[in-house]
């Protein structure tokens, strides 16, 4: 059985916000990546991945962020990540230097504003 993850996408002006709920691990990482990629049309300015409700993200999930950032950069679109203060995910994102590929914000609003 795969890990349960749910993605809800909404539009804030030219930016798309994807709320990732649940857990991301090696059983569903590629599926999560495909869904996120499919949700970004070519004319969008960028994608914000909101990890507020993400309970688990392992190295396969982090790989998804790097991969997305690369692909979006080619399309001249920017990827930003939202992790609330005090989230258990924070230290892992720091360790793996996710910030070098996608800026990390504390709120969705600040991420959308860029």
């Amino acid at each position: 059985m795969t890990a349960p993850a749910e993605i809800a996408v909404e539009r804030h002006g030219g930016t798309l916000v994807a709320h990732v709920t649940g857990e991301v691990d090696m059983t569903n990482a590629s599926h999560v990546r495909d869904q996120l990629l499919d949700s970004v049309p070519n004319d969008a300015l960028g994608l914000v991945i909101d990890l507020n409700e993400c309970r688990y993200l392992d190295s396969a999930g982090i790989e998804v962020i790097f991969d997305l950032a690369r692909r979006l950069r080619r399309r001249r679109q920017e990827l930003r990540i939202v992790v609330p203060p005090g989230s258990p995910l924070t230290r892992v994102l720091e360790l793996t230097e996710v910030g070098t590929a996608a800026p990390i914000h504390e709120t969705v609003d600040s991420a959308v504003a860029g």
Partner: protein, 802 residues
């Protein structure tokens, strides 16, 4: 949290539902049809379609076990069907049979230990999934699915082929059995038509459905006059009441009926003494009525009566009687046998006198017969024994011999006895016994294959199941219990009872159990699980079941449950016993659509839940409320030992009686989580990770880790586990071990696998290692015994004292 399933999950659900439907379909056909070949064809088609392979086949093991007969194929060239393969050339099939386990080969080219057979190689087979059919010692053969592409067969695939093989096993067993019963019934009819004995049969309402020619000649009545509710009609008015009382008593208890009474003999217009012997008969494991013989014992009875009156009367009778009569002296030596005896044995008087008469007794019977004779003789008691005696044709025939002590002027002078030929009756009994034994074997096979032999070990939960089969007859019930660990960490507990008995009920039980396992994994709401299973059941054949389905959160003790026509679970807490009410719904299969309700409650720490089927509480003439109250009283406070609790409850409620219906009982107690150590062995597949996370969370929480520590340690261990899984040797076979312990405030975790960590190819793996190194105080990776052991340490801020 309510989530819509993702696309991939929806696909998985769709695949599962499709397999479930295919299984139900084949199960139904296996029950409805006698055409084994058609069932096998359906099964291989389903295997190929559901497992998405190129080929599938059923190979039947020949009786010498050396060859495999190709019974059904899908995708294979037509000329393979009907062929015979050498068992030792079909390596996979042989190993699956030896291990009695399904065997998966994802890619033959990377499995040095296994090779495809010549036929498979010719067809380009690269991967295979095979499962044995039937139970060890009675294996029917092998079901196999083969693909040209390398494949990963997951747990669901293995479960599917296992379930399919078990259904085929059932159909094969049933077909074997049917032909044997048919033979034996044909033999019975033939015997009934040619024998001079009187024979009869009833249905399960005790109505007469068959009497033979002999019976009609004796009673002088027509067949249509004898059929129906006619039992005892031709008995002597003085004997009839007692005959009927004994008959009803035996019938209710499914016991043998044995009674001597007077029956109207039409040719002479008088009543003659007969011995009635009736035995219960079974069809497909269900009680079907009685079958019996009636033996004329008039001469023997008359002789005994005559003897009581006068010696002279006895001599007259003995000379003219068509039965076999004998007398002995005080030492038991034969002093006289009548004409009838000599006509039977073809011997002379001189040959029979003394102790030489025993020479004609069948060698297998003689020793026990003489024992019994000498015991009776010493005690001067009435002696009766059934044995085989050689007749004048050289054939051994069964007789019943009965001797009574004789006294003259108050002193013992010896025995007088009479023997009656009961050969036909004994033959019939033997055949019935044979049929009964086949029924019994099938019932056992079924129960072995359908009931969980033991429940899965679920961490943090003590589970003790009990199953008591009903007291009388071969009828097996459709009760079951089950437990499964869901991916969200909650545990589903199921107790159910299929309405009806026999092979059909047991097979339905097997299907329901599978359906609950499948939907129990997918659906989190008990009411939704019930609705799903209900839809499956109502779309198929007529079947109904009462079920209690309960989901327990081991952390919080919260339970959510639905009771479909089923009595409520009993909670034994420190403040007494009470039933968890609510969630009452219609039985499964009663209506569609149906609304299923669910209710919730809490199991406080240290308390116990009792789940049971209504065989435990149902008593004829006792209102259910009273029975439930009796159960609550009997359970009282929970013992420390769940085994003792189960024994005590069963003992008190059933009071040494055999239950009149099957009883399933499941005692459940959440145990406190060990804060000292966690030890796990999991299959090396990505699907294991979610379960590992739940276990680690529970353990770390108990060990006193705070939320952040808990998350980071869990993540680290799972990263190490992810490495073990990626480097696993092959599908299905490999596993990895995880240990975690709290040692002096320090958390020590280790992950051990049997593969080698490859070079850090790609950034992704490099990040995994970065996480492991960064989040732990100390990490050690070493190769040992052809595997890799990662040991990780981290000091906890507020470790609980171990």
């Amino acid at each position: 949290m309510l989530r819509r399933p993702s696309h991939r999950q929806r696909d998985e659900l769709r695949a599962l539902a499709s397999r479930q439907a295919a299984m139900a379909d084949i199960g139904r056909r296996a029950l409805a049809s006698d055409d084994l070949d058609a069932i096998l064809r359906d099964a291989v088609d389903a295997a190929r379609a559901e497992l998405r392979t190129d080929y599938a086949s059923v190979l039947e093991l020949t009786s010498d076990g050396r060859s495999l007969h190709v019974r059904a194929t899908a995708g294979f060239p037509d000329d393979m069907l009907g062929g015979v393969l050498r068992a030792d050339a079909e390596e996979l099939s042989r190993i699956a049979l030896d291990r009695d386990e399904p065997l998966a080969i994802g890619d033959f080219s990377s499995e040095p230990d296994f090779e495809p057979s010549a036929v498979q190689r010719e067809l380009g087979v690269t991967s295979a999934l095979v499962a044995p059919i039937g139970v060890p010692g009675r294996h029917y053969g092998v079901l196999g699915a083969y693909a040209r592409e390398p494949r990963v067969y997951d747990t669901e695939d293995v479960n599917f082929i296992r379930a399919l093989a078990s259904t085929i096993g059932l159909a094969a067993e049933r077909s074997r059995h049917k032909s044997r019963v048919r033979d034996s019934e044909a033999r019975f009819r033939e015997l009934a038509d040619t024998t001079p004995a009187l024979m009869w049969m009833t249905d399960l309402d005790a109505h007469v459905t068959f009497v033979n020619e002999g019976w009609l000649r004796f009673t002088g009545r027509r067949l249509d006059e004898e059929l129906g509710d006619t039992f005892g009609l031709s008995a002597h008015p003085d004997d009839r009441a007692e005959l009927l009382t004994r008959w009803r008593h035996a019938f209710r208890r499914r016991e043998e009926l044995r009674f001597e009474y007077r029956l109207m003999h039409a040719p002479t217009g008088t009543y003659r003494w007969v011995l009635e012997v009736g035995m219960p008969r079974f069809a497909e494991g269900e009680f079907a009525g009685y079958v019996g013989t009636t033996t004329d014992i008039h001469e023997r009875r008359s002789m005994e009566e005559a003897l009581r009156e006068s010696e002279a009367g006895f001599r007259d009778l003995a000379d003219s009687a068509p039965v076999m009569i004998w007398t002995t002296d005080t030492r038991g030596l034969v002093t006289f046998v009548n004409e009838g005896w000599m006509r039977f044995t073809g011997t002379t008087l001189a040959e029979e006198l003394g102790s030489s008469w025993a020479l004609g007794v069948h060698p297998e019977d003689v020793e026990k017969m003489l024992d019994s004779w000498h015991t009776s003789l010493e005690a001067r008691e009435v002696w009766e024994y059934e044995y085989r005696l050689m007749s004048h044709t050289g054939e051994y025939r069964w007789i019943v011999d009965r001797g009574v002590p004789r006294y003259e002027g108050g002193s013992f002078v010896g025995y007088v006895g009479a023997a009656v030929d009961i050969h036909e009756r004994m033959l019939m009994q033997q055949q019935l016994r044979e049929v009964y034994e086949i029924e019994h074997t099938i019932a056992e096979t079924l129960q072995r294959s359908l009931l969980p032999e033991r429940l899965p070990q679920i961490e943090g939960l003590q589970l003790v199941p009990r199953y008591l089969p009903a007291g009388h007859g071969a009828a097996i019930g459709g009760d079951w219990y089950d437990a499964l660990e869901r991916m969200d960490g909650r545990v589903a507990l199921i107790v159910g009872d299929v309405v009806g008995h026999g092979l059909r009920a047991a097979a339905t039980m097997g299907q329901l159990r599978n359906a609950f396992r499948a939907y129990g994994m997918i659906e989190s709401s008990p009411a939704e699980v019930m609705a799903r299973v209900n839809r499956l059941v109502t779309s198929g054949e007529d079947a109904m079941a009462t079920v209690l389905y309960l989901v327990l959160d081991r952390e919080t003790g919260e339970v959510t449950f639905s009771a479909a026509g089923h009595p409520p679970p009993l909670l034994l807490a420190s403040d007494g016993a009470r039933f968890l009410d609510g969630g009452r719904s219609m039985p499964i299969g009663a209506a569609d659509p149906a609304v299923f309700r669910e209710a919730s409650g809490v199991v406080p720490p240290g308390s116990t839940l009792l789940l049971y089927t209504d065989g435990l509480v149902e008593r004829r003439g006792v209102p259910l409320e009273d029975s439930l109250e009796g159960l609550a009283e009997a359970a009282g406070e929970a013992d420390d030992d769940l085994d003792k609790l189960c024994d005590r409850v069963l003992g008190a409620v059933l009071r040494q009686r055999e239950p009149s219906d099957d009883v399933a009982l499941l005692a459940v107690r959440p145990s406190s989580v060990s804060a000292e150590a966690l030890r796990l062995s999991l299959p090396a597949e990505p699907e294991s990770l979610a379960l590992l996370r739940r276990r680690l969370e529970r353990f770390l929480h108990a060990a006193g880790a705070d939320e952040l520590e808990s998350y980071e340690i869990m993540l680290t261990v799972c990263e190490a586990a992810g490495n073990a899984i990626e480097h696993a040797y092959g599908p299905g076979d490999a596993s990895f071990d995880v240990e975690a312990a709290l040692v002096a405030g320090e958390l020590v975790a280790s992950v051990r696998d049997s593969g080698h960590w490859r070079d850090r190819r790609g950034e992704h793996r490099g990040r995994g290692i970065k996480i492991i190194m960064g989040l732990m105080d100390d990490v050690n990776i070493e190769s040992q015994n052809g595997g890799t052991l990662v040991t990780m340490r981290r000091r906890l801020a507020h470790a609980r004292a171990a």
